[in-house]
């Protein structure tokens, strides 16, 4: 890895200090009021609940407070290839089908415990799938949900300021501190 690529990756890992900006600004943290890009309001609400199950509120905010559903709408609409968009959208139906099969109810109707049980199983299945995936086969939809949940959370205001420490201008480099720079 090139040093600069490494630095960029590290900053992605830390999630706290990312990059500059574009001219227009639409804060994904503001709950959307009907205006969506690719997903419906209902799908965004569903993704916020899936996100919250993956990364729930504890003593720090969860993924729902970070509105990862709206973040996913923007990323899937603008950054995904049409093929990946297809996998992502089919994944939403698959989650509902799995939920109905196992509990006889749609995901939104499940208790928090059942949601976690369901997604724990799908997480395990998705790891098996990803480990045995052949070249050319698509990424598992749950990899997308989980990756976007985490990325959306760590770059959101609640995630970056409460789970991580947000230092817009650290002003120094300390290469050997005993203080962990996140929660």
């Amino acid at each position: 890895m090139n040093r600069r690529e490494a630095l960029i990756q590290v900053s992605m890992l830390l999630g706290g200090t990312m990059v500059g900006a574009q001219a227009f600004l639409q804060s994904s943290c503001t709950p959307a009021t009907g205006h969506t890009l690719l997903l419906t309001r209902e799908q965004i609400d569903l993704l916020n609940e899936i996100g919250e199950t993956i990364f729930p509120a504890t003593d720090t905010p969860g993924a729902k407070e970070a509105d990862v559903g709206s973040f996913m709408d923007v990323i899937v609409a603008d950054c995904y290839t049409p093929e990946d968009q297809q996998v992502f959208l089919e994944g939403l139906s698959r989650i509902q089908a799995e939920s109905t099969k196992e509990f006889g109810k749609r995901f939104m109707q499940l208790s928090a415990t059942d949601r976690e049980m369901l997604l724990t199983r799908i997480d395990r299945e998705h790891i098996d799938y990803m480990n045995n995936r052949k070249t050319g086969e698509p990424v598992h939809y749950f990899r997308m949900f989980k990756e976007l949940t985490l990325a959306g959370y760590f770059t959101s205001e609640p995630g970056a300021t409460h789970f991580l420490q947000y230092h817009p201008a650290p002003g120094r480099y300390d290469g050997c501190t005993t203080e962990k720079p996140w929660h």
């Binding site: 600069r4 630095l7 990312m18 990364f55 976690e116 650290p170 120094r172 929660h183």
Partner: protein
């Protein structure tokens, strides 16, 4: 009627054009500075002060970015915050005879806004290399010729680094270095001792300020360089040289000015000015001056020269040697090693440091270090880091718990190698295709050959040896298979040399055949060197060339 005559014209506002503008203006010359792209005002046109959640895509590139800029979007530091400083490839086409990644920033400041900022002096090992092994032509200068000019530019730029007393990596006029972290210190100590001083880990030398210069800096350790820096924490034309040039009152900056050719007067045997296409209106203007500095970046300077055809120079301005466009070099890079470390479990890092460690060249620098495998050498940049665990199995509160743990310490080093000058690695004008300004598009035909491949292999394997000596575990090697151009160190297409029959520029970066035209961007290089950060050399040569040019004007040798 508008007065179109100046004392000097500078074409380009990137790292060398900014220096030409500053030096010419400070010496009292009324200077027209031409830039093909839009203006970018320091601070006002940056958006580095936004938080990550204020970016619609949180930094990611979009499918539209990839469609519009298939080449630029692959550059290592292209992202949502920096993409405005890269061109639209569909709008600015070129032909790749062989794969060549040409990173371009068409705006005031050019690529100085998005450069890698590493600054290393070349030494006599570099300046003597061509003469020694016969590749390329001998440099017409030696280290002593450029050393005072490195001093001069470094003190204005602000280079953070350590003095290490190495003959093959001369020390400079440095600000205090940015500190190594605990793992880097540990590894450096083991490596420096383990290889008996033959392989060394030293501080990276970077144009990020650790001390304030005027209103610039110091660096705030934000990891936002490529978005522009409102603190002026790193050197760019926009932050440093262009404001200095403007402060003299002698600079006229004209953005949206595509220079199509240099106008040559056969009777006077000098260039009289340049022809400019206004990028917005497509109107054509002529501007005149006593001296002209071409700083359009290696490939675009070449384009201007080859397109400046006249009775006197049917093959392009000052191209009696036939060398213009030839000997194109980049640097092979992207091969190295990475490893993990088991200790320092209670230690973390704070702040984002815009540099890392550096490993100076250790191959072919003395009789003892000669290798029969390849000519010349390579250096490494790298660093150690420790981040949060970014991925784990499972969901729910237990996943959150796992992801609040720190991962292991890791360290990587990556090589930058020398690219020999080959006549056949070249850029020419496409005979048919034109861009939207009616300018011929460039055809780039460049490759790495056997020497580069052998060097790259050795660099990759030596990287593993170094990390293992440093005490790292799970060391693995890699070669990213980077194509020419992707190092963004393209050079050599209007080289300096002693003989007008085999080179384009003399020891003062002055065209052998056109004495009032100077070229001080990367095209002037006679060799690529394996020292990364060529920009500081362009800067030093630019200041030196301006000093010479203005003296010659005063003496009446340049009319």
């Amino acid at each position: 009627m508008k007065n179109n005559t100046y004392d000097a014209i500078v074409v380009g506002t990137g790292i060398s054009g900014g220096w030409a503008a500053k030096e010419l203006c400070e010496k009292g010359l009324k200077t027209l500075v031409l830039e093909r792209g839009r203006d970018v005002k320091h601070i006002a046109d940056y958006e580095d002060m936004k938080a990550p959640w204020e970016l619609p895509h949180r930094g990611r590139k979009t499918q539209e970015d990839i469609r519009n800029s298939p080449i630029q979007s692959g550059v290592y530091n292209f992202h949502e915050g920096s993409r405005k400083f890269f061109v639209n490839d569909l709008d600015q086409p070129y032909e790749q005879v062989k794969p060549f990644e040409w990173a371009r920033g068409y705006q005031v400041g050019g690529r100085s806004l998005i450069w890698g900022r590493q600054c290393y002096r070349r030494s006599d090992i570099d300046f003597e290399a061509n003469a020694r092994d016969g590749f390329g032509v001998d440099w017409p200068i030696r280290y002593r010729d450029i050393a005072p000019w490195y001093d001069y530019v470094e003190s204005f730029v602000g280079v953070a680094g350590s003095k290490d007393g190495l003959p093959h990596l001369p020390d400079g006029n440095f600000q205090p270095p940015m500190p190594m972290n605990c793992l880097e210190k540990y590894v450096a100590e083991r490596v420096n001792k383990g290889f008996n001083g033959e392989r060394l880990i030293i501080h990276g030398r970077t144009a990020n300020l650790t001390q304030q210069i005027g209103t610039r800096g110091p660096c705030q350790y934000r990891d936002k360089c490529e978005s522009g820096c409102s603190y002026g924490g790193y050197f760019s034309s926009n932050a440093a040289t262009l404001p200095a040039a403007a402060a003299t009152g002698n600079m006229t900056l004209r953005p949206f000015s595509v220079v199509s050719e240099v106008i040559y007067d056969k009777e006077q045997r000098r260039a009289t000015g340049v022809r400019v296409i206004d990028a917005q209106t497509l109107e054509v203007f002529e501007y005149y001056a006593r001296i002209i500095f071409l700083n359009a970046s290696t490939l675009n300077t070449t384009l201007i020269l080859l397109n400046s055809k006249s009775d006197a120079f049917p093959e392009g301005l000052g191209n009696g040697s036939g060398q213009i466009g030839h000997n194109l070099m980049d640097m092979p890079y992207g091969m190295g090693a990475t490893g993990t470390f088991e200790g320092f479990k209670d230690r973390y890092t704070f702040g984002s440091r815009p540099t890392g460690i550096f490993i100076p060249r250790f191959r072919n620098i003395s009789a003892k270090t000669l290798t029969p495998k390849f000519l010349r050498g390579y250096t490494y940049q790298g660093g150690a880091w420790r981040g949060r665990i970014s991925w784990a199995d499972g969901v729910g509160a237990q996943l959150k718990e796992k992801l609040s743990e720190a991962g292991e310490w890791s360290m990587s080093i990556s090589a930058w190698g020398e690219h020999l000058p080959y006549y056949d690695n070249k850029v020419t004008l496409d005979p048919v295709k034109k861009d939207k300004f009616g300018m011929p598009v460039l055809r780039i035909d460049c490759e790495f050959r056997e020497n580069e491949k052998k060097l790259a292999e050795d660099a990759m394997n030596s990287a593993a040896e170094i990390l293992e000596m440093g005490g790292l575990k799970n060391v693995t090697t890699y070669d990213r298979g980077k194509i020419p151009g992707s190092c963004i160190h393209e050079t050599g297409t209007a080289r300096m040399g002693k003989d007008p029959r085999t080179s384009v520029l003399n020891q003062w970066n002055q065209m052998h055949e056109v004495h009032n035209v100077f070229i001080t961007d990367g095209s002037a290089m006679a060799s690529s060197s394996c020292i990364p950060g060529p920009s500081i050399t362009y800067m030093a040569l630019t200041a030196r060339a301006v000093d010479y040019a203005v003296c010659e004007m005063k003496k009446g040798n340049i009319r």
